[in-house]
């Protein structure tokens, strides 16, 4: 009888391992990178591998395989077993989920148009560059990446599932002058659900509006964060919900379950089933059907993120957030509020409109003290109106204080993923009161 490689790996592992997971992945993707209004390079990848988790007497091992011949599989498994013999057990490990489970399809995760796009992506990039230039930008830089792949999961506890998926990621930074830029991203599982020319246009518009910035002044401001910078902050906040971070002293939410830790305006989910979500999948890495988890409900912390093993030792249930090592977020989502962006600007007497952030770094994950740098268009708001662009500022804050000071949430969400935002975040613009802004002495 001919077995497929996944079954062969599993059968071989089960002779030694109490728990095993084999995830077969194939991935094809293409990327167009552009800078100075020219396509700098095009890139194409293909990959195929099996990701393997094996627990042998609580010695938890991760590896990958690319050669699926019978001999290679046998050698790899022998290697895993020999490696395990020399390891120390994970005393806290409590197993993987018992299946089987039924999986429900997730909407808008596969688009045949992306799979077939190939070099037509260059045409879309050309259109986007032109759209930004038409707004008055002088230069553009960015990427357009399209991806298609399949995964198949098999666990030693009876879970078996598979899915195919596609995704597209577009990022464009427009520069109107050296100190005036705008950045937008468009991300989607479906090409029909993204408008890259619109994103390019918006980036171009921000860049033009940001021309001739004045030196910003340190102080305390109410800040309207566009979805791009809001996602940067929210991803960092979302990581605090992972139980492994809490156990390791790397979360400011330790001891706060069931307590208020955010503004009443804030309701925040993790949802692996979100239609068109960049990290949506029918199952997590141990085969549990994904679901929507309420992390924060009107400011109160409702759950942390677990896999089966961490849930057992915390006397709770898995939230279906298993990665191969530790629980991890899927898609982080802010429940939309009722405000248009203009209405939120009108609420600000002395504030800033921030369109991007970068280099978010923590002094202390346990306290949540950090700083981050607004980049691209930053605009001073006075008495409910955008007055002029500013530059050279830094947010020096605490993530819990920011979440507690959310004053208003917009009603139009955008999905964000990118260089600084690895976990997809779906968020509208967010208005936060009393943000502390610092900066070096001007000229110094």
């Amino acid at each position: 009888m001919n077995m497929d490689p996944q079954e062969m790996i599993m059968k071989s592992l089960q002779e030694y391992a109490s728990d095993a997971v084999v995830i077969m992945e194939t991935d094809d993707h293409d990327l167009v990178k552009f800078s100075n209004n020219r396509i700098s390079i095009t890139k194409s990848w293909q990959s195929q591998e099996a990701l393997v988790f094996a627990s042998i007497q609580k010695r938890n091992i991760l590896t990958s395989m690319r050669d699926f011949s019978e001999q290679a599989i046998e050698n790899s498994v022998k290697g895993i077993v020999a490696f395990a013999k020399n390891l120390v057990p994970n005393q806290e490990y409590a197993g993987i989920a018992a299946g089987p489970f039924k999986y429900r399809p997730i909407q808008e995760t596969f688009d045949p148009r992306i799979k077939e796009m190939k070099d037509k992506s260059i045409d879309l990039v050309e259109g986007a560059i032109q759209a930004a230039l038409n707004e008055g930008a002088q230069r553009t830089a960015g990427t357009f990446e399209i991806r298609s792949g399949e995964i198949a999961l098999l666990t030693s506890n009876g879970c078996e599932g598979g899915e195919r998926g596609t995704s597209a990621y577009f990022s464009l930074r427009a520069l109107a002058e050296k100190d005036a830029s705008g950045h937008k991203v468009a991300v989607s599982r479906m090409i029909s659900k993204m408008d890259i020319e619109e994103a390019a246009k918006a980036a171009g518009q921000i860049a033009v509006d940001a021309k001739d910035p004045r030196p910003g002044k340190p102080g305390v401001y109410d800040v309207l964060f566009d979805p791009l910078p809001a996602a940067n902050l929210l991803e960092n906040f979302g990581n605090n919900f992972c139980i492994m971070n809490i156990e390791s002293g790397l979360s400011c939410l330790d001891g706060k379950l069931g307590k208020r830790a955010g503004s009443p305006e804030m309701t925040f989910y993790d949802d692996g089933t979100y239609p068109n979500g960049m990290s949506s999948s029918k199952f997590d890495a141990e085969g549990v059907p994904t679901r929507k988890n309420v992390l924060v409900e009107n400011g109160t912390i409702k759950t942390f993120l677990h896999n089966t093993s961490t849930a057992k030792r915390h006397n709770t249930k898995t939230t279906a957030n298993a990665g191969l090592i530790a629980p991890e977020p899927t898609n982080l989502i802010v429940e939309p509020g009722k405000y248009r962006k203009e209405e939120m600007i009108e609420r600000i007497k002395h504030g800033l409109y921030i369109t991007n952030l970068w280099y978010t770094r923590f002094q202390n994950y346990k306290t949540g003290d950090f700083s981050t740098i607004p980049r691209d268009g930053i605009f001073f708001i006075r008495n409910g109106r955008i007055s002029y662009p500013v530059r050279n500022m830094r947010i020096s804050e605490n993530i819990m204080r920011i979440m507690g000071n959310i004053e208003a949430v917009g009603k139009v969400p955008e999905q964000v993923r990118g260089w600084e935002v690895e976990t997809p975040v779906i968020t509208p613009p967010i208005l936060v009161k009393n943000i502390r802004i610092t900066k070096p002495v001007e000229g110094g």
């Binding site: 890139k43 991760l62 560059i129 830089a141 990022s171 830094r394």
Partner: protein
């Protein structure tokens, strides 16, 4: 067909598809990794990676493809796909030229006194468990303890259509810790990344257990006794760790020629430096910063870069003057110079781009005590946690972790989180004296699309800064 023969096949096939220039990089990596939380081994990895990356020029258009399916059909398919992108009739393609370079044929291997492949996995993970045990008596005050360690041996073959053939065997060992101390309702966190291009012998030089004990002692002392950080203009002595991150962020990055030329504008950003600034002053006479891939044991060590250019020490700032930028062959052609061997790709599946390697300040003549003795009233910032810098590499912030007041040339009570927030042009002018004992830390430097976190080293000796504004 052997894997090595497949690399030759890929090179020939890319040329057959019209490549005037092609380079093929075959990489096979094997290693182990370990994650430890307190005394618990969370997971252990058998890290195996192999694949081929091909970068090629067709009609002066640049393409990159890669696959980990190592057979002829897959290579043909991916090269065909890459070539089809290069033949697209777009008007917007950048015409790419590469600066001239001699072909090299070299085989080199970093010597390991204690080969990583001979070290029992149990011994590797025990390093972390022992380091954690070293702070055992203080565990109630150190509730957060997270460690990682990885070892790898990378066998890389680079072939180019110009006749270059480099075979390199690069062993690397590295890791990270982040610990959280708690006392009197406050917490204090410290992390450190260590790494070397070497065998297991490098590990003993890190003195991990002793280092952690010292970190904990310093953290608890700070939590119990630290006073509010002073503000205003004062003299500051910074330790090697702070000097290292300054050299990396505020010299290495803005001196990357691809940033200067705008190629990384979308994400990594650009630079306040312009091509015409070579030869102009940026710092005081005592400031000399180099990037040196050939620094033995450095985490960013190599002898030939990923375009086959021979590596050498690059003096980025020499005696306070801007001396040279980091170049690959493409940026060198744009600025009408020669590559200085700064092209790196973190894996076979990444495009080689301009990167730092081991970036550090050259030593001066002073002991750390002498630097401190020269300060009447100021701050000693031994190390840091939080830092960041804007995307033109001008406005930066370093927040001290272990730090002390300096009073009349002597260290006084610890201070809580002193903040140095300063522009690059001011920073390097404030350097007044440089210590004589360099130290180094490892890092994973982020750049590229997709992101390529690449092993780097940075450091230098302690240094004294006059009249900087503490916030």
């Amino acid at each position: 067909m052997s894997v090595a023969a497949l690399a030759d096949f890929a090179l020939a096939y890319a040329q057959k598809k019209g490549a005037a220039y092609a380079e093929v990089r075959l990489e096979q990596v094997e290693g182990n990794s370990f994650l430890v939380k307190k005394q618990n081994v969370e997971a252990s990895g058998i890290d195996i990676k192999s694949g081929i990356g091909i970068r090629f020029l067709v009609n002066n258009r640049l393409g990159f493809v890669s696959t980990n399916v190592l057979d002829k059909d897959s290579l043909k398919r991916i090269i065909d796909r890459g070539a089809s992108f290069l033949l697209h009739k777009t008007r917007l393609r950048e015409a790419v030229s590469l600066a001239g370079e001699s072909a090299h044929k070299e085989v080199y291997e970093v010597r390991q006194k204690q080969p990583l492949q001979d070290i029992d996995p149990k011994e590797k993970v025990q390093l972390l468990l022992d380091a954690d045990k070293g702070i055992a008596s203080l565990h109630s005050n150190v509730p957060g303890r997270w460690y990682s360690l990885s070892t790898s041996i990378s066998k890389e073959t680079l072939l180019t259509s110009e006749g270059t053939r480099i075979e390199a065997t690069i062993p690397r060992v590295g890791g990270y810790y982040i610990i959280t101390m708690k006392q009197a309702g406050r917490s204090y966190q410290r992390s450190w990344q260590f790494g070397a291009t070497a065998g297991w012998e490098a590990v003993s030089g890190w003195h991990l257990a002793e280092r952690l004990r010292a970190e904990v002692k310093a953290g608890l002392h700070n939590l119990s006794n630290a006073v509010k950080a002073p503000k205003g203009s004062m003299d500051v002595v910074v330790g090697p760790e702070v000097v290292g991150i300054m050299c990396h962020e505020s010299v290495g990055h803005p001196f990357e020629a691809d940033r200067i030329l705008g190629r990384e504008a979308a994400q990594a950003g650009e630079s306040f430096i312009t091509p015409g600034m070579i030869g102009s002053r940026i710092g005081s006479d005592v400031v000399t910063v180099v990037d040196d891939p050939t620094e033995e044991k450095g985490y960013g060590y190599y002898l030939f870069d990923n375009e086959g250019v021979k590596a050498r020490r690059k003096y980025l700032i020499k005696g306070g003057m801007i001396n040279e930028f980091l170049h690959n062959r493409q940026t060198a052609a744009s600025m009408e110079t020669k590559s200085n061997g700064s092209s790196r790709a973190v894996d076979y599946d990444k495009e080689p781009i301009v990167r730092m390697s081991n970036t550090f300040m050259l030593p001066g003549e002073y002991s750390e005590d002498e630097l401190i003795e020269g300060v009447r009233k100021g701050v000693f910032m031994k190390n840091f946690m939080e830092w960041n810098i804007d995307d033109q590499r001008m406005n930066q912030k370093y927040v001290g972790a272990e730090a002390f007041l300096i009073r009349n040339g002597k260290l006084a009570e610890p201070v809580r989180n002193p903040v140095l927030e300063i522009n690059t042009t001011k920073l390097w002018q404030c350097f007044d004296a440089v210590g004589k004992k360099p130290e180094y830390a490892a890092g994973s430097c982020g750049k590229g699309e997709p992101m390529q976190p690449i092993p780097v080293w940075f450091g230098g000796p302690s240094a004294r800064l006059r009249r900087v504004d503490m916030r």
